[in-house]
Symmetry: C2
Subunit: 129 residues, 2 copies
DNA sequence: CTGAGATTGACAATCGTTCTCAATAACGCC
DNA sequence: GGCGTTATTGAGAACGATTGTCAATCTCAG
């Protein structure tokens, strides 16, 4: 049975109020700084749950898991700035069908896919020029 | 100056003789079992070098880096069996141009992308049925 | 209100990976 | 072939992210 605790809610809100992807550690640090006394393990558990429930997107970069609040239920991918972390949600049916087709074509079943685009956003491109 | 050592060559060969993606640890274990006395750190370094040099593909799954020998210089993606690790190299210009376009469309520069398709290969699908 | 049991959090433990640094070995040069 | 410079190695320590442990706490159906 799933119970509602203020800790889980705090994590959900903190994630919602964050632009771009965050690590569990960063989010935890932010919560502590804001006066919340959540435990680190709890933040890890809450984020994993949110990702499971489809309320958050996750991706792994450089050996750590990053999370981001996301509109539940909609399948989409991300365009992420390597410098500031700004993120754009993108949908591309073409890619979806391509992934499904290429899997089927080789006899693969239960296909899933990882599709992420990284780069420098307009602002960071200018700044780094 | 880059020097050639039997250790690096051993790693290259071991990687070449492996089907699908392997972790540094697994490859190291295999080498040791085959009588080779390479150090773990060396395997990590060799794999990172190979990936840098474009002689190996890498992807991160479940918190660890996996490597696979690959035809140098050619950009491509993979279709990977979640059960046995069998891998098919796939190329899709449509995806390449899509990635470039979607980045440009949002003002992102220096675009890179991660595209991997996972599933159960024909054999494993049958076995797990 | 109450009790079963889900959840928490401090801490230890684990796991993949990188760092350190003395010993070794590769290779351009004579 | 020898020499010296210096990249490379490897054993172990150190590291950072994540997960496990388990008693104390909190949630909520009844
Ligand atoms: Zn940016
Ligand atoms: Zn998709
Ligand atoms: Zn398979
Ligand atoms: Zn590509």
């Amino acid at each position: 049975m799933r119970r509602n605790t203020w800790q889980r809610e705090a994590v959900r809100e903190a994630l919602g109020g964050t632009e771009g992807f965050v690590s569990a550690q960063t989010l935890h640090a932010g919560l502590r700084e804001a006066g919340s006394e959540v435990g680190l393990a709890t933040v890890y558990r809450a984020l994993a749950d949110l990702a499971d429930a489809g309320e958050a997107d996750s991706l792994q970069s450089d050996g750590e898991n990053l999370y981001r609040a996301c509109t539940p239920g909609s399948h989409h991918h991300h365009l992420i700035c390597r410098h500031c972390g700004a993120t754009v949600e993108i949908t591309a049916d073409a890619v979806e069908t391509w992934a499904r087709d290429v899997a089927a074509e080789h006899g693969f079943t239960a296909p899933q896919h990882v599709v992420d685009v990284f780069g420098y956003c307009a602002a960071c491109s200018r700044e780094l020029a």
